[in-house]
């Protein structure tokens, strides 16, 4: 996994609550056996009309909105456990998702793929959504080391929480697999003790 560095980017506002993983990546695109290329089908049925034409109303299709930070409504990533949702967001170019609430499985999947879920207060989220809708060029900084999200144009900043272990993993480009493999002897001892 790549090391996570401080991000300075514009944000893309998606003020919809309960965005489920079927919206992020519909099931019909889960037939691949690799991890690449899912970005093409990110939010497919919102980005495109039923006849295949581009939906100009959808935020990802508006030229004014650019950047690697997605700012979304509460309970982002609910539903299916498909890690393809995290892959699709990462493949499309997102590095951070900001919301006031994340579904558990999505949050874990995102962290396992170097995509940082930043959980902020509901009031911070509302101010940020409003701010970037009015001025899409506004810059957002996400500093993982300091656990701080800052929007200088709005005079806003807020601390966010992340488990110290997960933080260390992201900053050093180390993941759960590296850790688990390093303690394989302890797993085997556990098995022996439980006589499995």
């Amino acid at each position: 996994m790549e090391k996570f560095k401080t991000i300075h980017s514009r944000g893309i506002p998606l003020p919809v609550e309960n965005i489920d993983t079927d919206q992020i990546i519909p099931a019909r695109f889960l037939k691949a056996t690799g991890r690449e290329g899912f970005g093409e089908n990110l939010f497919k049925d919102w980005r495109f009309n039923r006849d295949g034409t581009v939906n100009d109303e959808f935020v990802l299709n508006k030229d004014a909105f650019q950047g690697s930070i997605l700012v979304a409504g509460s309970n982002f990533g609910c539903g299916s456990s498909r890690e393809h949702a995290a892959w699709a967001l990462g493949d499309y170019g997102f590095k951070v998702v900001v919301s006031s609430f994340f579904a558990d499985i999505f949050k874990g999947n995102a962290l396992n793929n170097g995509l940082l879920p930043v959980q902020v207060s509901a009031s911070f989220l509302q101010a940020l959504l409003k701010g970037i809708s009015e001025d899409p060029t506004m810059s957002i900084s996400v500093n993982l080391e300091q656990e701080l999200i800052t929007v200088s144009g709005l005079n806003l900043s807020e601390k966010f929480e992340i488990n110290p272990y997960k933080k260390l993993c992201l900053l050093s480009g180390y993941d759960d697999m590296d850790y688990l493999v390093s303690i394989l002897d302890a797993v085997k001892e556990y098995e022996e003790k439980e006589s499995r």
Binding site: D22, Q23, K31, G34, G79, S81, R82, A186, E194
Partner: protein, 459 residues
């Protein structure tokens, strides 16, 4: 302070605790299917790792599989390739696979319990959010992402923070026409689609104690729709009777020893939960959903609640409903009885008991999709097949089918489908399809009437 059922199973599976961090949880059973496993097998190869305990894995093909003419090659090339990858990966790694056409094939969350793979006190994972189903046996069962599938392959463990505990207690006797699906849709309507986030739920009280294992599985299956990692029900005589004698259940010589241990798993009287809810059975009526998340449900006879929230309005617009609308008499052209939520024999018995001697309405296409080959066999042996076919229902072969629009079974754009599945998300059953979640009994009544009707007047 005493321990909860969840504490007892969790604590006995902790391999180690990371300083200031999550815990490492040992996994007893790993269930896999074709959609979320191929990238995990690839990852192992890329990292030069091998599987630690292939004999603790059970594989099936369910999401991509057609429900017609399963003996023929699969037409969709990508689906076929994904199934071929599963077959090859399982063969290369000595994993037991009940693939398409096998006598034990079916939806992973239907076959593992019916084969006795699922047992009380276990930790069970699968790259599938509805793994929560297996909590019905008093096991800790939850869905994981593909990176974790790879981790379990290599180390039989996951890294996870211990979730908070929640208990939902419902005492009393259920009303006429109310099935376990109505109970879980009622809870969802009360606590919403994120009411359980960060928690593991224990369902307790008379209502769950009186349920069969099939009914309990329906409830635990949808605990993920509350945002919870999973749901559990304390194992009791109903559980032990269900497990005894199944293919992979402990053998006769040791099972009573196991049962004695399983009996110790129930939550201690002095245990304290982080969050508690209590509901009354008498308040629960047959339910239906009207929106695009499973928490947007109501009694069939109610009107769609008013709400000024923008996401709520967007959801109703997608469904073609207005605030204050009643759903009674809304015409429905598609009915689906199946999925890991409601494709067990009890579900089909309930539907067939209502359908017997009646015909489906002319406007309705009604699909009956068993959860497994064994359930399909029971449907034939119990004479339910004749009931469905005489009534004009289409009985298909086992699979996930129209639950998630990954195979040929899809609901057309703009059409309503009363479905016994678990998710009514936008496009879940096909692009533009509008899903209304309900019990098998409600689904059967809609198929016969051709429109939404109040089942409590009909049973």
């Amino acid at each position: 302070m005493g321990k909860t059922l969840f504490d007892k199973v969790w604590d006995s599976h902790v391999v180690t605790t990371i300083k200031e961090g999550p815990q490492v949880l040992y996994i007893d059973k790993h269930l896999i299917h074709e959609v979320t496993s191929p990238q995990a097998f690839n990852e192992l190869k890329e990292r030069g790792l091998s599987l630690l305990r292939p004999n603790q894995i059970l594989a099936t093909a369910d999401h991509n599989t057609p429900t017609k003419e399963q003996h023929l090659p699969i037409k969709d090339e990508l689906s076929r390739k994904q199934l071929e990858a599963l077959t090859k990966n399982c063969a290369d790694n000595n994993i037991e696979l009940y693939g398409l056409g096998h006598k034990y094939n079916g939806i992973i969350h239907v076959i593992a319990p019916e084969l006795g793979v699922t047992q009380p006190g276990m930790t069970i994972v699968c790259g599938d959010s509805h793994t929560s189903t297996h909590g019905a046996f008093g096991s800790i069962a939850f869905g994981i992402g593909t990176s974790q599938v790879a981790q379990v392959f290599a180390t039989q463990s996951v890294v996870m923070e211990k979730p908070k505990s929640m208990r939902i207690t419902i005492d009393g006797k259920l009303n006429k026409g109310v099935l376990s699906k109505d109970v879980v849709l009622y809870i969802l309507a009360e606590i919403s689609t994120n009411g359980g986030t960060g928690h593991f739920i224990e369902f307790a009280g008379e209502v769950f104690e009186n349920m069969s294992m099939e009914s309990r599985m329906t409830v635990c299956n949808m605990s993920i729709e509350m945002g919870a990692r999973g749901g559990m029900i304390a194992p009791d005589e109903t559980t032990f009777d269900y497990v005894r004698g199944r293919k992979f259940a402990p053998k006769e010589t040791v099972i009573e020893q196991k049962v004695a241990f399983w009996k110790t798993l129930a939550t201690d009287k002095t245990a304290v939960f982080d969050t508690e809810y209590t509901f009354k059975a008498s308040d629960i009526a047959p339910m239906i959903t009207f929106g695009t998340n499973p928490g947007m449900g109501m009694k069939i006879t109610a009107s769609i609640p008013k709400n000024t929230n923008e996401s709520y309005k967007k959801s109703l617009k997608y469904m073609g409903f207005k605030q204050g609308d009643s759903l009674e008499n809304v015409q429905v052209n598609y009915v689906f009885i199946g999925s890991c939520t409601n494709a067990r024999i009890e579900d089909f018995r309930a539907a067939a008991a209502f359908i017997k001697g009646k015909k489906k309405a002319d406007n309705v296409t009604a699909l009956i999709v068993p959860g497994s080959q064994l359930v399909a066999k029971q449907i034939r042996e119990e004479g339910l097949q004749a009931v469905f076919e005489d009534a004009g229902f289409e009985l298909r072969q086992p699979g996930c089918s129209a639950c998630l629009a990954m195979n040929d079974d899809k609901i057309p754009d703009g059409e309503y489908c009363v479905s016994t599945s678990n998710r009514n998300f936008e496009g879940r059953q096909g692009q533009g399809a509008r899903t209304l979640l309900a019990s098998p009994l409600v689904a059967a009544s809609v198929a016969v009437a051709g429109k939404i009707v109040d089942i409590s007047n009909l049973v």
